[in-house]
Amino acid sequence: MYPIEILVGKPGSSMDNKTGSWRSDKKPKFLQKECIACNMCFVICPEGCIAGNGPNTYTVDYDYCKGCGLCAYVCPKKDIVMIDEGEEL
């Protein structure tokens, strides 16, 4: 049996899973040129791993990004592009 402190998980402890290792094909690149800080990528990222504060500051945490491509889809300025996993940023 699990002791009670394991049954009651530590808030946000899923951060221990570095799900970025799931990425196999593409990864997003934040160009930081046309960004208007609309926050759409931050809101729709299924992993919740995009951060930023003001125009042209947004970045993604590759430790968690699964490479779904939704940030690139939703960006109204096309300032996020999907590049091959092996390509340099």
Partner: protein
Amino acid sequence: MAGVVADPKNHLMASGHTACAGCGQAIASRIVVNAAGKNTIISNATGCLEVFTTKAPQTAWRVAWIHSLFENAAAVASGIEGALRYLGKLDNINVIAQGGDGGTADIGMGSLSGMLERGHDVLYVCYDNEAYMNTGIQRSGLTPLDCNTTTSPVGKRSYGNPRPKKPLLEIAVAHNISYAATASVAWPADIEKKVKKALSYKGPKFIQIHVPCPLGWRFDSSLTLEVAKLAVETGLYPLVEYENGTLIGVRKIKPKPVEDYLKLQGRYRHLLKSPEALEEVRKVAQANIERYNLSVG
């Protein structure tokens, strides 16, 4: 939502959960919990959401969260609400029950109906991905007509699921609850607005959110929002709002052909080859458009 500092630490559902890439439910559930705020207790039904957010001993949640069984999310939430009412803490704490379409419309239907009928001050959120995705894409009561699932396979004598989608929102509205609405993950600000609005009402309220599933519906993970948007814009998933049993708002659309929505998804591929089945789906969209007067102008 623009103008807010985008800090992942403020998300009440953390990174590192194990949802598939491009998961619509992961997007919607984070928007819901962020809109509700940290003074929230969530009762979660069994399903994808429960499994991918709480890989024991870890949890993605930064709010109080409990999972008991598949069928009793609404009953557990009712109990939590009762306890908070007894303690006099109900004014400061939101109680949310949530589950997928199977946990809500099939397995948890009885406890949901009970919760709505007894008048508990709880928001129930149903994440509708239109089949039992967690166990391998079996048909549920919310699977739409002519949809290919592993238990309603397409073949010489079958176009897939032979039954129309269960009118879950209407069933909730029939309980005469204060607020009921449908939403779609393609409009995140609309979800946020509806959750905040729902929580401003006393008593039971219900929100059903359309959340495309890249794996189960067979489309590329970068198309989740596009697919969700087209479901609404073709009339197949009307976005409506009810207050005390009265329709108070719909999202108007310029109806697009249903093929635009169907052709993106592997689960509907067979329909594009069979005009009569396609006509049936077109009729579903047309009926929605007429019923809710969805067309612009």
